[in-house]
Symmetry: D2
Amino acid sequence: MLVKKFPPILKKLKRGPQVVVAKDLGAIVAYTGVGKESIVVDAGTGSGFLAIFLANICKKVVSYEIRKDFYELALENVKESGLKNIEIKNKDIFEGIDEKNVDLITLDLPNSEKVLKHAKEALKENGYVVGILPNIEQLKAFYEELKNLGFKEIFAIETFHREIMVRKEGTRPVNKEVVHTSYLCFGRK
Amino acid sequence: MLVKKFPPILKKLKRGPQVVVAKDLGAIVAYTGVGKESIVVDAGTGSGFLAIFLANICKKVVSYEIRKDFYELALENVKESGLKNIEIKNKDIFEGIDEKNVDLITLDLPNSEKVLKHAKEALKENGYVVGILPNIEQLKAFYEELKNLGFKEIFAIETFHREIMVRKEGTRPVNKEVVHTSYLCFGRK
Amino acid sequence: MLVKKFPPILKKLKRGPQVVVAKDLGAIVAYTGVGKESIVVDAGTGSGFLAIFLANICKKVVSYEIRKDFYELALENVKESGLKNIEIKNKDIFEGIDEKNVDLITLDLPNSEKVLKHAKEALKENGYVVGILPNIEQLKAFYEELKNLGFKEIFAIETFHREIMVRKEGTRPVNKEVVHTSYLCFGRK
Amino acid sequence: MLVKKFPPILKKLKRGPQVVVAKDLGAIVAYTGVGKESIVVDAGTGSGFLAIFLANICKKVVSYEIRKDFYELALENVKESGLKNIEIKNKDIFEGIDEKNVDLITLDLPNSEKVLKHAKEALKENGYVVGILPNIEQLKAFYEELKNLGFKEIFAIETFHREIMVRKEGTRPVNKEVVHTSYLCFGRK
């Protein structure tokens, strides 16, 4: 199944809490257009997969994780990745975001809509926030709060990838895939 | 429809020949893991969307386009993008790839399987080639040639994105989306 | 696009209000297993497509439509279909269902969860009710009310069909399809 | 996963060889519009799921199965279903179809394109043949032969169903589904 395929930099890392998979990693980059000049804030870190994927592309990633055990795991994964431009903070993002002039904020944690007021302050003009939201109720709460806070170009998507097997016996899609991980909701300051 | 949503750097560009859309742009980055240290070769340039998207992320992109009119259009788009790390060559990639130690080669042109022998020479060890292939017959030819040439970790995918509308009248996916653009076929040297 | 393909009996009918398309017509039959012995109640009739499709399969279909204009259109379509086992009633299903020992009740109208108490009375033991529900909020209300009323084997689905073009120029899915019509929610008495 | 949900008449049957699942059962009925007056020929019988599903809807189903073990299994399943309008023949359909004036022929067996010349003879004018084809190469062979034999309204589809979970913890699609079983290819005499 495609959810098991990760880019080289993530392949050897330890997976603790649920990680963001390739189909969603790609969508975040594709719609926000972050690149090598971008400053990113991320929360919660979890296993650090999204933070490390983005740090490989962007200038700097700061990731917030309140749980000590995830924080430790993420530190280990960052070390393993060899990347030097990630900072993991063992801190509660609901209390505020220290960074300013941020290009992208990715939020993959429960009640993430409550972080949006901090996100708006931390983002630079035209910067993006992305919510990674397993349930439709979370998507709605996130979407509504983006609207309340005056974010623009708000939209939500879901992504599917399907593997195609090319074999002597015949060409066809694989039988089973993961067909839902999370909705992604984008807003722009 | 989501195929009309592009990252900021592509939004204002002119679209001549068929462009690679966000769902596929994202997948290329997500499975190959290219980043700010990566050297990319791309062909055919077309409108330059893939080249410009990747140049925003990577260190350097060289793109081959044999058609003079597309070459001119792409030059204009590169200029509009403001990026300085893209080189467009008005050259036939079927005659060879000048670059060496390349991290990623993206091929979006008919008979692209015939470029794979050049691609293998140009790639660094563990570098990726990606074919963007509208038809299943092209996918098969590309896949087979990757196998013949000894590429590893060969796999093919298709991607779908669906927009979800969150509105007072109710939350639901949009009615129509583009459900096929191209198959993507990956191989690693 | 596949939403424009209908079975022969529906092909020549007039389409007034939004009709149930083939992908959903098929799913209703496939999961409920209605057949030539089944008695069906349907509301709102709309253009009569679902009623006529089911009448071609089942023993008897009774369909409720409160709007006079839709009722007239449906009568015309039933006549055109040549089927004799459909009765269209210009009546409000929210006030009750006259029929008893029904095998399947299909509900394609706003606030359809409010019909479920009548549906439960009208259904025979093990009979099915199916809601055709454009929005997730409607799906939730319908699902919850099925639970409240003690229906069993409750589940909800969404369906996609994609056309594959087999052509000399190459085999591939069509580019655009309708990717959302309605959620279907099933419950069994 | 939705592939495990079957209509009541199939729920208790034994599954030997790969069976046609609900998403495809429904599509066959929806696009061909078979009903209680229809005569169907089916091959190979396999476990008899498609034959029994169609017999519950149609007037008569005759199903061909060359393998003795599958034939025995299907006989047992037909008996269990209680349906009287199915005939299972332990016969090779590649040698010819005994029936005439058939409304629908369903073909779920390797090299089924070689049955199409017999199918054309057996079908009544405007009758449908449907191929159930796991691989794209089979789909192409089937499609081409339909064209060669002068069938009309030829088209091919693939179907997906996704279950939506409505729960207190949140509403969302299930994580895993079967995303490929077979392509369905339709032709009309």
